[in-house]
């Protein structure tokens, strides 16, 4: 026996639906992009045989050794195959944002203002982290 939709709440149902679509799309995209990278469908920024000498380095030295900039600097190297794979990873790290955005109107309509504000702050936290402004990424 399962819970009825009104017992779960419109917010939870809406979040689950959007999360399923975003996650499945993101994971499928990640696998396809990684397949292109591994099978050599596009040239990578870092040649495969250089990886063993580079993955031993701390992230900062890795960026220097590969000529990549921190923050969103990697987007300048698109559409290299390894960089394209980062797009798939970034999509997963953004997956929660549309889910939160979808339930905010539900909370607004039902006058759950505290939950509305919590969702807004959660989006701000993820966007701030992504921007690199608070983390020294730029």
């Amino acid at each position: 026996m399962e819970l009825k939709n009104d017992e779960l709440g419109a917010d939870q149902i809406a979040y689950a639906r959007v999360l399923a679509v975003v996650t499945n799309t993101g994971l499928a995209g990640l696998v396809i992009l990684f397949g292109i990278y591994v099978l050599g469908g596009l040239d990578p920024h870092i040649a495969h045989d250089r990886l063993p000498e580079l993955w031993k380095l701390p992230a900062r030295q890795f960026l220097e050794a590969t000529g990549m900039a921190p923050g969103w600097g990697w987007t300048a190297l698109l559409p290299r195959a390894d960089i394209l794979t980062l797009v798939g990873i970034a999509a997963l790290a953004f997956a929660s944002v549309p889910c939160l955005a979808v339930i905010m109107p539900v909370y607004w309509r039902t006058r759950r203002r505290a939950l509305f504000v919590i969702c807004a702050f959660e989006i701000v936290v993820i966007l701030l982290a992504a921007s690199g402004l608070v983390t020294g990424g730029h």
Binding site: I89, S96, I118, L128, A129
Partner: protein, 317 residues
């Protein structure tokens, strides 16, 4: 009920041990014999290890992230920065893919998760920044100490199916942090509520720092905090614990992306291997002896914790 024989368990443990030991042996080989594993050997070995970890993580009742970071950082040649970044993505991808069914099945509570996730995702950014500011050997040593503490916590922590919550606190009542759980066997509908929300928020602040700092995922800490401290039923605690990670690890993952600590050749085979392994593990749930596997995982974690500690202290490099 089918019980695997000791010899089968021994073979399984041996296979896992060999899989973990081989990368270490190959890492040491170049200096000794002038032989180096081809570049593709490492991602392949990583995929195989993550696949096995995914299989045992489900019956052991632990998240893949907590197994991934100490084991991969201890036995693979990758820098800890990349391992922590991949560990976060492993935990994030697992939490995201489990989220829809947990929410729509009523095993995770969105309103219970949101306030805790907000605090933990903000502090996970702080944790990740601390991790990049500290020298690697300090992070490695702290990781070893934390893993050993997790082993003690997992071995000793009690669980409560339906904790007694006489009355909700003001915050949980205002935010609607309550619901109904349907018991699987009887179909009985059990209303639940939580208390001690301020203490829960404080604990989740610390959990977020640890998640961001080590890239561990944090189900091992979320579950007792939700169940024993706040009084959520065990099933709701387990589901919500997993769901919270999907938000907490999102913000921390961005710090690692911004710092250049996400290498697709490490992160993606780990994610795919762990998720495929977890699917197999879920199917084998009725066949594998969960209690024995859990003991095996605790021994494995303790070994990886000691390895991380000694590596950080420069005793065993």
């Amino acid at each position: 009920m089918h019980t695997p024989s000791p010899s089968r368990l021994l073979r399984f443990a041996l296979l896992l041990g060999l899989t973990l030991a081989l990368p270490d042996a190959f890492a040491a080989a170049p200096a000794a014999a002038g032989f180096a594993m081809p570049w593709w050997g490492w991602p392949l070995a990583l995929f195989a290890v993550c696949f096995l970890l995914g299989i045992i993580a489900v019956p052991a009742g632990v998240g893949g992230g907590v197994l991934f970071v100490p084991i991969v950082s201890g036995f693979f040649p990758f820098h800890l920065d990349f391992v922590r970044g991949a560990g976060l993505l492993v935990a994030l991808a697992s939490a995201l893919s489990a989220g829809p069914s947990l929410l729509s099945g009523g095993y995770a509570s969105l309103r219970l998760a949101l306030p805790l996730a907000l605090v933990a995702s903000a502090s996970s950014i702080l944790g990740a920044m601390i991790g990049f500011a500290l020298p690697t050997h300090v992070v490695q040593t702290a990781l070893g100490g934390t893993i050993l503490a997790i082993v003690v916590l997992m071995a000793s922590a009690k669980k409560s199916e339906f904790p007694s919550v006489p009355a909700p606190d003001a915050i949980s009542a205002a935010l609607g942090m309550n619901g109904i759980l349907v018991e699987a066997g009887t179909g009985r509908r059990v209303p639940w509520q939580v208390h001690r929300t301020p203490q829960g928020l404080a604990v989740f602040f610390v959990i977020g720092i640890l998640a961001g700092l080590f890239g561990l995922g944090a189900g091992w800490a979320n579950l007792p905090a939700l169940n024993l401290l706040m009084g959520a039923p065990l099933k709701i605690s387990a589901g919500t614990s997993s769901f919270v990670l999907s938000l907490v690890d999102s913000s921390a993952a961005w710090v690692y992306l911004n710092k250049g600590a996400v290498l697709p050749m490490i992160a993606v085979p780990s994610v795919i291997g762990m998720m495929l392994g977890a699917k197999i593990g879920a199917r084998l749930l009725k066949v594998l002896p969960a209690a024995t596997i859990r003991k095996l995982v605790l021994v494995l974690l303790a070994f990886a914790g000691v390895r991380a500690l000694l590596k950080g202290l420069g005793v065993w490099n």
